[in-house]
């Protein structure tokens, strides 16, 4: 089933120059995945195909040089947003503006060139690396595509980046295969491969979720060091608000394809204006038995994104929901300077 392309009637509007401090601007982004259904069902539904509204009208900006966190539970749409920004997926509606360029308007060739400036790190390094490619080949691949094809130069570039990610001496690792190194080292290889083309933006989708506790701190530290060295901007996608605290400058919380809250980390964590953010923050287990959680958790689990609840998506589980919450969808509004919340009663929570 071809996806509806709603961008065709749009002209490539020039992006105002005043916003060049933004590396990425996401405007009203939507991604609906049609649900597979049988022939008979499609006739009975008269052509109306139900869709999973993975991302449903999301807007935010990522400033140059910051770590922007995107948090939420599984099924909130956070990874889909990451893929849409990299244009690994085409949006159903809305647009992504990368450093002044509207990604929906440029040619595939221009997109290919732009790809060297945006890279990705996924959760599972073993799945991200080809088991039959040596580490040198894996990291050298983007070098050959984007930088140079001369063998000795490729090797030089690869060895440099290997040492930068802490895999030294590089010669020892160059000819190894992914299965011959540890999980933490594998993730370092994936980071090296992402950084070898000197990107501006790195989308890190749960980059440390699979690593062990003692390895996590090392990987986070490495990512932050490399950020300064390479002037990177990170989109840090995570379900773990405790980890996000250590790396993010600003954070956005997603629930069922929509943003609940966006703001600086301190604002969102200390003055969260959305009941869902509050619940998420309280649910994080604290490694200190003197601070056991006493707050009750919201009822139920995250509902299906095919038929999300009307009004505010969170209202069936919300402890402060009132009648209008099931009818009126709350807009994302600026509650305090730079702190946006999508809740009708955010002010009450802040009191």
């Amino acid at each position: 089933m071809p996806e509806p392309r709603l961008m065709e009637n749009k002209t490539a509007a020039p992006v105002p120059a005043a916003e060049t401090a933004d590396l990425v601007r996401v405007e009203n982004l939507r991604k609906h995945f049609p649900v597979q259904s049988g022939f008979l069902a499609s006739i009975l539904n008269r052509g109306h195909i139900p869709a999973v509204k993975a991302v449903d009208g999301v807007s935010f900006t990522i400033h140059k040089g910051e770590v922007f966190g995107l948090a939420g539970e599984s099924g909130s749409g956070k990874s889909t947003v990451g893929r849409l920004i990299l244009r690994l997926l085409d949006p159903t509606e809305g647009r992504v503006i990368f450093d002044g360029t509207d990604l929906s308007t440029i040619s595939p060739e221009a997109m290919r060139k732009l790809r060297s400036r945006m890279q990705v790190i996924f959760q599972d390094p073993l799945a991200s690396l080809n088991p039959r490619m040596t580490l040198g080949e894996a990291i050298g691949h983007p070098v050959r595509i984007h930088i140079t094809t001369r063998l000795e130069e490729v090797k030089k570039v690869v060895c440099e980046i290997l040492e930068k990610v802490g895999l030294a001496p590089a010669e020892q690792f160059y000819n190894k295969f992914p299965h011959q190194i540890s999980g933490g080292q594998r993730q370092r290889v994936v980071i090296a491969r992402a950084l070898v083309t000197a990107p501006d933006l790195v989308v890190a989708d749960e980059p440390i979720a699979m690593a062990d506790v003692s390895v996590r701190a090392l990987l986070l530290d490495l990512m932050m060091k490399l950020k300064d060295e390479f002037n990177l901007t990170y989109l840090f996608i995570t379900h773990d608000l405790a980890t996000a605290k250590y790396v993010c400058d600003r954070i956005a919380v997603m629930y069922l394809g929509k943003l609940c809250e966006v703001g600086t980390l301190a604002e969102v964590y200390q003055h969260s204006g959305h009941p869902y953010t509050r619940a998420l923050l309280e649910a994080v287990p604290v490694p200190d038995p003197r601070h056991r959680r006493k707050e009750l958790m919201p009822a139920g689990e995250i509902p299906s994104a095919i038929n999300p609840p009307p009004g505010c998506h969170f209202h069936p589980r919300c402890p402060i929901a009132r009648e209008n919450c099931s009818v009126e969808e709350p807009a994302l509004r600026e509650l305090r300077p730079g702190h946006f919340v999508a809740c009708h009663y955010a002010e009450e929570l802040l009191k």
Binding site: A217, Y269, R293
Partner: protein, 332 residues
């Protein structure tokens, strides 16, 4: 054996036969699980915590083998039971929950049939109707509406499937539930609710729970005592408040400092250097010595004993045993 101990493991060694040699995944481990407690067993991947959990039910197969040890459960040594006697213990007296409930439940069997089959397998005299009533009451207690018993596992959410797993363990009133990473595949809010449920069940049914997890926060949240494993050995065991407030083993100290804490205002995460050793060739002496910030010469040659430092706080570290070591040195 201490009187209040429901399960006492003594000098347990579990080996895996591999192409390149024998790996001791659990190496001479002793541990007591007290009646009515939640004991958190933590450690990083490969430290042997899951192997230990399975060995408690003698669930090892294939290349794994219990090479040595005693498994004293409720007054008898399970190692002395025959293979035909073990199934009566498994499920009925000791229940087990794994990380991914979807792989533990039969995808083509209704939830109700899982429960009635479990009950009738162990109690053949129970009628189908009685087993059904018991199942209905049980799942309602766990927060699942009784109508949902007619559903298949895929129709339920992850948190609900994990509650079904708990109900299977409780259906036969198991005394001990071994939960191996039960919340790892759950989202934080669902995880928090599942942990609340575990605490309620502990109180209500007097349930004893061995909670195996890599998540230090989960242990801090629910456990009464905590056991820390490193490289197939027990590093430290003690009351959860004692261990978190005053960890004795340098590995525990590093581990606790490297866990992100959402409540702490400031601070950087501690970065523990190095990686756990390859268990084919574990380091001689203390297994943690290559990474230990307080390493002494003797640590490279002598293996520390696992013994009490204060009260019931047991540690396997020569820092607390050097007095004896020095004395022995004098006598020698």
């Amino acid at each position: 054996m201490p009187d209040d101990s429901l399960y006492s493991v003594r000098n347990l060694t579990v080996e895996y036969q591999t192409r390149v040699g024998i790996v001791k995944a659990v190496d001479d481990v002793s541990l007591d699980i007290r009646r009515g407690e939640i004991l958190g067993l933590v450690g990083e991947s490969g430290c042997g915590k899951s192997t230990l959990g399975k060995a408690l039910m003698r669930l090892h197969t294939g290349p794994a083998r219990i090479a040595n040890g005693e498994l004293w459960f409720d007054g008898r040594d399970l190692m002395k039971l025959s293979d035909r006697e073990m199934p009566d213990v498994r499920g009925a007296e000791i229940g087990m929950i794994f990380q991914d409930p979807m792989t533990s439940l039969n995808p083509v069997q209704r939830i109700l049939d899982h429960l009635t089959e479990t009950i009738q397998a162990h109690e053949p005299e129970t009628s189908g109707a009685a087993a059904r009533t018991r199942s209905e009451e049980l799942v309602e207690r766990l927060g699942i509406r009784r109508e949902r018993l007619n559903e298949y596992p895929h129709q339920m959410s992850g948190g609900m499937r994990q509650r079904v797993m708990i109900s299977l363990a409780l259906a036969l009133r198991a005394k001990l539930v071994i939960a191996d990473e039960p919340t790892t595949s759950l989202d934080v809010i669902v995880e928090a609710k599942f942990l609340d449920l575990l605490k309620e069940l502990q109180k209500e049914f007097g349930l004893t729970i061995l909670l195996i997890t890599h998540n230090i926060g989960v242990v801090a949240e629910v456990a009464d005592r905590v056991a820390v494993m490193y490289a197939a050995k027990m590093a430290e065991v003690g009351d959860v408040n004692d261990v978190f407030a005053d960890p004795k083993h340098p590995y525990t100290q590093g581990l606790l400092k490297s866990v992100p804490n959402i409540r702490l205002e400031e601070g950087e995460l501690y970065k523990m250097e190095g990686a756990p050793p390859n268990l084919l060739h574990p380091p001689i002496g203390c297994r943690f010595h290559p990474r230990c910030p307080f390493v002494m010469d003797i640590c490279r040659t002598r293996e520390p004993a696992f013994e009490p430092v204060v009260g019931g706080h047991l540690v396997s570290c020569l820092l607390y045993q050097t007095a004896n070591v020095k004395q022995e040195g004098l006598h020698a």
